[in-house]
């Protein structure tokens, strides 16, 4: 009841919480990871677990749990939750990367045994299937020609379709086109192959050829190109179009000289990724290109070979170690080719993207 004077204790902290708190040292996560792995391997070895996968999983779980408990003890609950989220993300990341690295590593290891100048420059003509030797030259030529032809068809059509949808398309027609592109995205590659087979080869009577394979590949590539190009064109701010119109530039020229150049990095990346996608397609090629073990430089006439089909043909010979080795060699070349395309796509995207340089 007395006067409302409250004396402040000398040691009271000003206003609420302190700004400093106990923190685990910077090296703690690494130490916990090392400890967890050691412990996980120990448990695995002692428990006699066969699979190294189980060892890894035990280590991962230990890592998540130990970091959480340790942090909760030292740093408090909020920090511990933060650490929990971080360690889960790390574990998920490593789980995602392991198969990728393993696949690349194994392919390189197996493929490097056979890939050499001879392998790259010779076909399978006159090579005994069950014996050593031979190469992928005919398949490489086939894949390059088929993919190039497919891209020459799908890229311009896809680009123009996307330009139509973004810049001109209104009303029913645009809706219908969008719908069909969506449907095409979901077409299984074998169905595209069957379609071309029944229309081009059976109804119209054309022979097996690299070109009929590339028709099917183009069908598969088209929706990917349309979608990615559409997204890129939509990213171009409307202000740029208006700025161009306001200078008295007609619409078609605005699209050609302002909109597409602004988006060209992303468009090229999209096309490259679509190319990479169809490079590995096997099903339609099997139906339409037929497969040949000799070199056929003319994609418009007669059977050709392609890398994915070559891999399949080599690997489908039961218990043939030479066939297996050649399949891995071709797989290595295929992966290297696709990776090369991806790198080029990234390079172009970086090189052509609008810069704010100084």
């Amino acid at each position: 009841m007395s006067a409302a004077t409250t004396s402040v204790p000398a040691d009271a902290r000003p206003l609420g919480r302190p700004l400093t708190a106990n923190r685990l040292p910077k090296w703690a996560p690494a130490a916990v990871a090392a400890g967890s792995i050691a412990l996980g391997c120990g448990i695995g070895a002692v428990g006699g677990l066969e699979s190294k996968l189980q060892w890894g999983l035990i280590s991962a779980i230990l890592f998540v749990v130990i970091s959480y408990v340790l942090s909760a003890q030292v740093e408090g609950r909020r920090q511990a939750k933060d650490r929990l989220a971080t360690s889960v993300v790390w574990v998920a990341f490593i789980l995602a990367v392991i198969p990728l690295l393993a696949l690349t590593f194994y392919t390189v290891q197996q493929g490097a045994k056979v890939v050499d100048g001879n392998f790259l420059s010779h076909s399978m003509r006159g090579v005994r299937a069950s014996g050593p030797g031979g190469g992928i030259y005919h398949a490489l030529i086939g894949t390059l020609q088929q993919v190039l032809l497919a891209s020459l068809m799908a890229a311009p059509i896809g680009l123009l379709t996307a330009v139509y949808l973004v810049e001109y398309g209104r009303g029913k027609l645009a809706k219908a086109v969008t719908f069909f592109v969506d449907v095409m995205t979901g077409v299984p590659s074998i169905v595209a192959g069957l379609f071309i087979l029944s229309v081009w080869n059976l109804a119209l009577g054309f022979n097996y050829s690299g070109f009929s394979g590339s028709l099917a590949l183009a069908i598969l590539m088209l929706p990917v190109v349309v979608r990615s190009t559409e997204e890129m064109l939509k990213l171009v701010p409307n202000e740029l179009r208006e700025a161009s119109y306001a200078l008295g530039v007609p619409k078609w020229k605005t699209i050609l000289r302002i909109v597409i150049p602004t988006a060209i990095g992303g468009i090229t990346t999209g096309v490259m990724l679509a190319v990479a996608r169809i490079t590995g397609e096997t099903a339609p090629v099997m139906l339409l290109v037929f497969g040949a073990d000799y070199i056929n430089n003319n994609p418009f006439d007669g059977p050709q070979q392609s890398l994915p089909m070559y891999i399949w043909m080599q690997y489908s010979q039961v218990n043939n170690q030479y066939g297996y080795a050649r399949a891995w060699g071709a797989a290595l070349v295929l992966i290297a080719f696709v990776m090369g395309l991806n790198l080029i796509a990234r390079g172009i995207a970086r090189w052509r993207s609008p810069k704010a340089g100084h």
Binding site: R170, P237, E239, L240, R241, E242, A243, S244, Y245, A246, L247, G248, V249, P250, K253, T254, R257, I258, P261, T262, R352, P354, K355, A356, G357, H358
Partner: protein, 258 residues
């Protein structure tokens, strides 16, 4: 170069909503006319009807007449692309073309309409950048991207780009609203110089700016949300700011609403 604009009975729609209604006014050549008024009263919409940019928006249309000297911009055989070459525009946010250098930005309009000769283009770049008071700042880095300039410089680059195609009229939609005070001052000075050659129309939110740069001021207002905007009055700037003839104008200017 500069031309006179006569607007009569002009209404503009977005789809079925009427954004501005029955606007008539005369805009004098070689002068600065400022549009002021509360947000959403249709200043930008009206400005864009003056170079046929309004119809670029899907579903948008215009009724009425806009005479440039004696030619109706909305006449049947008039090409909107040609209209936009005579009536240039500067936007609220600086929008240089990101893929182009400073040099290419300035001559974008010329190049896209077919001018190729290097000497002509070089000359034009220097003249336009000087006209936009930007030459001294960028003359050593004409080949650098336009997007690397400061906001105020980018806006002056956009003005240079607009005047490079030698329009008769220059429309500016709040050209300084994204800029700092120093850049704003630079653009205001520039407007004072440009009016000797062009007919200038500027939309501004800033009353002092309207008072500083314009010769005539138009006040727009709307009766309520969802109602179309209307021209309330157009008079000499001095009169609008000292002794307007409509009460609403005085209320707006003295900050009682808007």
């Amino acid at each position: 170069m500069a031309k006179r604009i006569d607007v009569s009975g002009l209404s503009a729609y977005y789809g079925s909503t009427k954004a501005i209604e029955d606007i008539s006014m005369a805009i004098e050549p070689r002068s600065v006319t400022a549009f002021i008024g509360p947000s959403g009263c249709g200043k930008s919409t009206f400005l864009r009807t003056l170079n046929r940019m309004h119809e670029v928006i899907p579903g948008a249309r215009v009724e009425g007449k806009v005479l440039l000297d004696d030619e109706n911009l909305y006449g049947t055989s008039v090409d909107p692309v040609a209209v936009r070459r005579s009536v240039g525009m500067v936007f609220q946010r600086p929008n240089p073309f990101p893929t182009m250098s400073i040099y290419d930005n300035v001559i974008a309009g010329l190049k896209l309409s077919g001018v190729r000769k290097k000497s002509v283009l070089d000359d034009k770049v220097e003249k336009s950048l000087q006209g936009a008071n930007l030459w001294n700042e960028v003359k050593d880095r004409l080949n650098k991207p336009g997007a690397g300039l400061s906001g105020g410089q980018q806006q002056r680059l956009c003005i240079a780009r607009a005047i490079a195609v030698e329009p008769q009229v220059l429309l500016m939609d709040e050209p300084c609203s994204a800029l700092d005070p120093i850049s704003t001052l630079a653009i205001e000075d520039l407007i004072g110089e440009l009016k000797t050659q062009f007919t200038i129309v500027i939309v501004t939110h800033n009353m002092q700016q309207a008072a500083r740069v314009s010769d005539r001021t138009a006040f727009f207002n709307l009766a309520g949300v969802g109602q179309p905007g209307k021209l309330i009055e157009l008079d000499d700037t001095q009169r609008i700011f000292s002794n307007p003839s409509v009460q609403a104008t005085e209320d707006y200017i003295s900050g009682r609403f808007g």
